[in-house]
């Protein structure tokens, strides 16, 4: 019974979904992203050897966020997808960041 009356709403989402499939990134771009991810992983490993104090976690999280953006945008095709999905992912990321910040209000000031 799947999709028996889909398309009554948000026709544009549906159509754009088909258009999006025609805009896959080329193999060249995929390979470049892959190399980028390996480079960022190397940076994460290298930076972990340097004593950055309380900044160490922030740096690791920033690098991980950049890697996530690469994977979501290119390997998971978000860059070529409909706006509504970008909003969904954006809202999720925002909530995640806020949750993280609120948790750190505890950790950072707990022993003061």
């Amino acid at each position: 019974m799947d999709n028996h009356n889909s398309g009554h709403s948000e026709h544009s989402e549906h159509n754009d979904g088909h258009i999006a499939e025609a805009h896959h990134p080329s193999y060249g771009i995929n390979v470049l992203v892959w190399i980028g991810l390996i480079a960022l992983t190397s940076i994460t490993v290298s930076v972990s050897g340097i004593n950055l104090g309380s900044l160490a976690l922030t740096v690791a999280l920033i690098i991980a966020t950049v890697k996530t953006m690469f994977v979501i945008n290119f390997f998971m095709h978000l860059k070529f997808d409909n706006k509504v999905f970008k909003i969904f992912v954006g809202v999720c990321m925002l909530i995640f960041i806020v949750v993280l910040v609120l948790t750190f209000f505890d950790l950072t000031f707990r022993y003061e």
Partner: protein, 561 residues
Amino acid sequence: MANGTIAVPHKAAEPDFYHVRTKHTGIWAWLLTTDHKRIGLMYLSAMTFFFLSAMTLGVLMRLEMLTPGETIMSAQTYNSFFTLHGVIMIFLFIIPGVPAVFGNFILPIQLGAKDVQFPKLNLLSWYLYMIGGILALFSLFIGTGIADTGWTFYAPYSIRTTTNVSISVFAAFILGFSSILTGLNFLTTIHRLRCPGMTWFRMPLFVWSIYATSWIQVLATPVIGITLLLVILERAFGIGVFDPTLGGDPLLFQHLFWIYSHPAVYIMILPAMGVVSEIIPTFSKKPIFGYVPIAISSLGIALVGYLVWGHHMFSSGISDTSRVIFSLLTFIVALPSGIKVFNWVATLYKGSIEVTAPMLFTLLFIFIFSIGGLTGLTLGALNTDLHLTDTYYVVAHFHYVMFGGMGLIFFASMHYWFPKMYGKMYNEKVAKVSAYWIAVGFNTLYFPMFIMGYLGMPRRYYDYLPEYQIWHVISTVGSWILVSGILIMVFNLVKGIRSGKPTTANPWGGTTLEWTVPSPPPLENFDVIPTVTTGPYDHTQMQKQLREQYKQQQKAEEEKN
């Protein structure tokens, strides 16, 4: 005409979903069904069983508290009972309750759809729910006994206790998957399967509430999933994430647990609020006051609800900075809840109010939930919380909000959509008596807990000082009244299913799409997908009819005179 719909009459001979011929027959027609209505009813059957089981545990716990010292069970049994009572009630009844039963049965029809977007996934969700439920009950009979941690599984005790924590935790983990898949299914259904003309602001408010709930289910549940898995790994391999002796942080467990479990409170209450927004306009015979604010406030509650988890940890040793921030955020979440309550009351104003059983349960909800909400403010304030935390005051507040909120509205929904689900009617008088009976029992059971909590009675103890006994006795008597009220209600509903009078498609004069289809609905709900032309609570047609009736009555009286 509901929802300003261009309705298409159903073929007279079309059988309802109970009697339609399908590929499978007998029990298999249920166990292998992908029909959202049958799946909703399967959830209802399972939940009724789980609810009655957990209720029995609750009554036995209250009986234990009748006298100081050991009355009918040992301390260890008491600890296991309150854990199992909590796990079953929270994870198997309150969290999935309204969305799984009424979301499944009613939501696709309210959207003008033939089913949910992924019917097979819907059935899988039910199986996951059953596996999780059976596993939770299974932990009763195997290994070293039922978990004794409380439903919150706080570390480091949950890591060290020799009771069956791993199985209970794994049960909750599986139930989480069921919840995520149901949320995903409803989100997709709401985005993709709205009938023509059903714009976002023409959706019934029940759909809006399920939409907000589904987002919480999808975004917050994975957090508890990974947390519970970490507890199992910690118990099995001592990985040292939460255990302070291994360098772990037990407060991290509390953060992660409440990052899910506080939004989960809104998974519990938001759908119930959606039902209230359906019942009040129907029985006030007028459009809901403040449709858009109510719809947006659902999203507001879902969003702010994410950010208040720290108020469960005020006395656990978190930083002062975060205590202040979380306290402030907690007060902010009262705003969207307040918007809803004021709009419901404003809808009642000058309405033609008909106090039927579902409406009675709803009015009781507004009264009881308001007490729950206001007593929550004393727990959200830092200074009073330190006095009241971990006392019976918290138990009372929690039950006023959860049972008085979701529980009463679950009962209201059962009565409101009963004719739609079964095509029959229950005994209205008995239903009203049971509602009053439940209200008396509820307040006798839980209100003394506010008092003894304020006086310092700690929660989760099977023993107490003699000066608290009077409050415990009143509370235990309340539990007997409440349970007898619930049993009267259940008996009346079961009798209605078996031998109730047949009813019509729209016995209440409802205006949303489910009232345009026969009771019970046919397999695919609609012969032709309807087209919606107005908002969901347009009573103009009905008001015209009432005006005509009034004129005719007047005329008849004049002629008599």
